[in-house]
């Protein structure tokens, strides 16, 4: 079981750069890169809300749950 992160896809669909998003939500580009690769343990609601606000999307657009 794992959570798949589709942030890279949503960023591409919106034509937004990772750098712009990182600046908007106040995290480092390195951390955003880790999030895009799904290599983080979790996402704070505060961060998630800022991402959704900036990309005008819902949390469900960013993540899906996959059963192995």
């Amino acid at each position: 079981m794992q959570i798949e992160v589709h942030l890279a896809v949503v960023l591409a669909q919106r034509g937004v750069s990772g750098r712009a998003l990182a600046e908007h939500i106040g995290i480092t580009q390195a951390n955003l890169s880790l999030l895009r690769q799904g290599k983080v343990k979790g996402v704070r609601f505060e961060t998630l809300a800022k991402i959704c606000d900036y990309l005008d999307c819902q949390p469900g657009d960013l993540f899906t749950f996959r059963r192995d």
């Binding site: 951390n31 880790l34 983080v40 996402v43 961060t47």
Partner: protein
């Protein structure tokens, strides 16, 4: 108080404490040694809870008493010195650095053993004061101060364990974005 101010306060006071521990660690043993060395014999006897010796003490005996009496201070000085890396780390804002656990643990050990040594120094002083005299004297006392120091040492030791737990939480928290 917000997190930034709280961290600033921790850093500020830790730097002050690091400087104070440095001064204390360096000054404490010689201060205790000189104080005991210059103490009149009747006061030495009173502090050891024994009767004053009938004749004056030789300089060797006085030196030996001063050395024995300095042992707890010497150990406490080592403990304060060992605590400094933790305070320096707090001063830099790194509250959960790996160095903190070891530093707190060493300080706790030094506190505990120095309190035990303080208890032992009193009868030892009495024995030394009795050397060469017909009548010997021995007095052993365990006061609230010693007990409080040992409890404080135990508390610092537990705090060291808590710091390890906190460090693990901090490391996990850093994996959240």
């Amino acid at each position: 108080m917000d997190q930034v101010n709280r961290q600033k306060r921790i850093m500020w006071w830790s730097r002050i404490l690091a400087a104070a521990t440095l001064v204390l660690a360096v000054a404490l043993p010689p201060l205790v040694f000189i104080t005991v060395l210059l103490l009149p014999v009747d006061m030495l006897a009173a502090s050891a809870h024994v009767a004053p010796p009938p004749s004056a003490l030789s300089s060797g005996t006085q030196l030996l008493i001063a050395l024995v009496a300095s042992l707890p201070a010497l150990l406490l000085s080592w403990g304060l010195w060992a605590l400094r890396p933790a305070l320096i780390s707090f001063g830099r804002g790194a509250c959960f650095a790996p160095v903190v656990f070891g530093a707190l643990k060493r300080f706790a050990v030094a506190l505990f053993v120095s309190a035990l040594l303080r208890v032992a120094v009193v009868p030892l002083t009495g024995v030394i004061l009795s050397i060469g005299h017909e009548q010997g004297a021995l007095s052993l006392r365990f006061g609230m101060g010693d007990l409080q120091t040992m409890l404080l040492a135990a508390g610092v030791w537990i705090l060291a364990w808590i710091i390890v737990e906190a460090a693990a939480l901090d490391a996990e928290n850093k994996q959240f974005v």
